[in-house]
Every structure is written in structure tokens, then in C-alpha cells.
Amino acid sequence: MLGELLLYLMVFDVEEFADNDLREFLEALLQQPFEGGAALELREEIVAQLEDEVLDRELIAGWPEEYLELLPEMMVDYPRALEQFDEILEEVTEEEAESARLIRFRKCLSLLSPSSGWEERAEAARGLGSLEDEMYVFRDDYVAKPLTLAEISLSSLIAHRNLFEAVEEWREAFRLTHQGKLEEAMETALEGSRLMRAIEQWGRLADLAVCAALWPVNNEPESEPSDAPG
């Protein structure tokens, strides 16, 4: 059970846990049997966190990967699976990463060139506001339905964690846009799109039902360019 509970630290965004909830979670971890050197080491870390006034969320979020041997057996191949995902990501070309979202983003940025007047900028603002909102709505919906224990697998966890990474890339792209760093913003958005596309391919390879929830991020029927016949 300790392993399953640790898995949840990979599913939830620890940064968004309320302090009380995270402490309760740590207390629940402490109720589990701890056997062996690594487990006892983890136990000490949990106790130390509970005694501390301020929780070190980054440290807590890193426990599953630090104590990989305590995770359920299905996670034994986690490092190798991560490598496989990275290989897929490496192979995603810019063309493949092109999505309706990215096209809209690029168009908005083009309206923010130094020579653009306020009307063009206002149009860009409307477009960026809508795009950003779509991203947050998607993220909030996704977060509201976390993976259940039955859905957790090596593949789904990798998809899940990279999805958060992809959304973070997009958030950063919007932040950079507001700072006027448009080239960097475009590059970051492209990275976010590449990640999304890689997750999509990963989901197909692993036949992951959970990845169906990720696809709308890339697929927008009303404006998605398609080479598909018919």
C-alpha cells in the first residue's frame, strides 16, 4: 500500500495541495508498514517533513523517483519507459507538432510586431485570451478527474506527467508573450506542442484510453488543417 500511495505523488500536482491535505496525506503514508533500508529512510524523511513548519513540496514530489524500489512492481521499468518516451519526443518534427492551437498562437504573435497598431494588438489580445482560457479550462477539467488507481500504469503515468509538463510549457509561452519575448514564446509553445504530439503517439502505442483526454489539446475540428482524404 505504501507503494500505491507513493504513486499518487506522481499523479497529483503536489504544489497545488492545500497544506492540511498534504500533511494528512503524509500521515496516511506513516500508517503504512515500512520494511527495509529505503523504506525506513523514507519514513525518516516523512517524519521530518511533518515536524517542519513549512513543507518542502519539491522534495516530496521527488520521492517516488527517489524511492523507485518502493513503488509497485509495475514501476520497475519506469526509467526505461521514460527513455522510450524521450525517444518518441526526439522524433517529433516541427511539422508534426503543428496544431490548430499553435497556428492560432503564431498568428496572434504576428499581430504583435513592432509596427502593429492598437487594433491589431486588440485582435491578438482577444485571440491569446481565448487560447489561454482554453488551456486552463482543459487543465482544470483534467485535474478534476485524476487517474484512479485502476488507471495507473507505467504508460499512463508517463503520459500524465508529460501532460502537465506540456501545459507548463504553454503557460510559460503566454508569460513570455506578455513580457514581449515573442520569439522565445513561440519556441516554448512549439515545445509544448511537441510534447502534446509525443503524448498522443505514446498513447496510441500503449493503447491508453486515458490519453483520449489529451487529444483535444491538439485537435480542434473547426480549424485543424488536415490531409486526410474525404
Binding site: N20, E24, I103, R104, K107, C108, L112, S116, G117, W118, E119, R121, A122, E123, A124, A125, R126, G127, L128, G129, S130, L131, E132, D133, Y136, V137, T177, H178, Q179, G180, L182, E222, S223
Partner: protein, 375 residues
Amino acid sequence: MDSLRLYPDDEQARAEVLSSLELLDTPPEERFDRLCRQAQEVMEAPATYISLIDRERQWFKATVGMGEFKETPRPGTFCDYAIRRSRPTVVLDATSDPLFTKSPYVVGEPHVRFYLGFPLTVRGQRVGTLCSLDFQPRDQVRPEQMERMRALARIAELELAGETPPDGETSPESEPLASFEGHRQEATILAARLPQFSSHCESWSAEMIARALFLFTTQMLESTHGWGGLPLDYGSDTFRAVFGPGLAPEEHATRAAGCALEMQHVLAGLSSTLVQDGLAPLDCGIALATDELVVGQLGANDWARPLVTGRVVGLAERIRDLANPGEILGLESTIRGLGEAALVEGKFRVNLPGYESTAIIYELVGVGDAHLPRR
């Protein structure tokens, strides 16, 4: 590529909701002006406003420090951007944000530099904004300012939605007490009180009292709406809500209990902030009581409000007065309604006026996985 649509065209649905509010081009009203004044105080800002975003214009329902501005063309406004987003918009320095740097309201009057805008959503449509402006750039918005502005925005949404909708546009689901014909149904009353508030009032300044009550009421309203309840009334240190109208019969006790737990959590968080500010905590006692009620609308055509009546309304208040700070007490009928999900720690019997037998009151500490905050 030229025909690429950058944003969805959802103006029709938005315009319909906005129009149904019947607020555009109406005279100023104290309930909105008050919110603007509070927002100005929270943000320590020279200007605040509540605007409604019409198809081609931004119209101000309430303003503070906005001079002659009554309305502006919509294109190029910050709010035209803000209503595209469900989250608040913060622009610390408009002159360095390429989206706004050439806006007519930045390069010209009133030379906006700082903007904070919360979208106001009514029936799923963002119809307007609660905003704060500064004519100097800022470094940050403090978290407590964001929280208080969020609360004010929520109240503004409730005020906007509280307008009587035109005939025929309400449904039993969206307006559960819309009918003037009363009917009987089982429901759960939530009654809350700040039991130590009277003693605080003797030592607190008027400003502190007003702030504490504002925070209390705002949080009560927000939680009630979030759990599908209807606020009935609130006094200086009391609050009552009903859960039942518009809900499935098996849901009201669970929702009321969930709401009570959330209120205790939120108030625990709020209290820690108040204590840091040198104020006393806002500890709240809450009672839940379930029984058959008569529900409907009370009043005249142009001044109607939800009515619930039945012996349990008074019972809930009496049980509430027995609740210690931080406690949730539930009448046995409510605990029955919660079924196996109810987590209780103790019970006691009490004779309550209006209740023929001895009432059994339970101390509710959780429902399912949700628990009272640690004290």
C-alpha cells in the same frame, strides 16, 4: 490562413444573458457602488469599476475615480481581453505588455498602467468585469488582495444574477424558488453563527468589525452557492441557507454537510490570516437540521425573495446556538440523511422548544473522506 478564426464567436449567447439582466443604461445603484468602494480600499487604487461588456461598448455600472467615463468603445479595452479568460487578468505595467502598450487607454486618457480585472460570470457567460486601475505601474498584487477581490467579484456576480429575469426565461432547475406557488419538500437548513463575535465587537474598531463580517458573509455566500444551496438571510454575525430546492431529494443533507465542512475549512484559513493581522479568529458554529419545509417565493412582483418556512428553521437556529466555535452539530434527521458517510464523534439529547420529543444532536466531524479542520 487569412480566414483563421483566432477566438470563438460566442457573442450571441453572451449578449442574450447580458440583455436579460436589464442593467445596461440603468442608474447607479448603491449595491454596486459599495462594491467598487470596497475594491478601491482593498487595492489602494485610484480607480475601480464594475463594467458590463456590450457588443460594441464597455458600459460602467459603477465607478470610483473614473471621472467622466460612463462608457467607452469596446475594442482596445483591457476588459475585452479579460472577459475572454475565466481567471483574473493582471497587467502590472501596460507600457511593457505588447498586448496593451498601444491601447488608446494607455497612450491616451486615462493613461492606464496597472490593471486588475475579474470576469463576472452569470449563467455561464462572462458579462462584465470588476476592475481596479492605477495610473502608475505596480510590482505585484498581494495574495490577500487577490483573495479579497475574488470575494468581491463573487458578490458582484450574485448581485448581477439577482435581477429578476424576464418572464418565461427561468426554469425550475436554474431558479428553484421562482414559483410564487409554495410547495412542501424535505430540505436541510444550515444555520451558522460567530458565537464570540459580540465580545469581539466591544474591543474592535468599526473598521475591523466591518472587515470581519464582510469576510464571513462573503465566504458563507460563496460556499453556499458552490454546494447548490440558497442563502436565506444574514445578520450581523449569523447566516442561514437552505439546501433542497433544485436538488435531488437524496442530495440535500450531503450537500449541506459538505458546505458546512467547507465553511469551517475556509474560516480556519481566514482566521489564521486575521490572527496574523492582530485580530481574533472568526470561529463559527454551524447547525444542520433536516425536515419538511414549505418553499416558494415571498413578496410582491418587484420585491420577491426566497421563502422557506417550517419548524425546522427555528430548530436549526436553536441547535446553532448550542454549537461551540469550530463545531458542526446535526439534528438526527440530517445524520440519517447522510447515511454511512456521516462521521460523528458524539451525541447528546436536548429539549428544544417546538420539537415534541427530546432531540438527539450529533457532533459531525466529517462526511466520507472530508473532515473538519484540525484545531
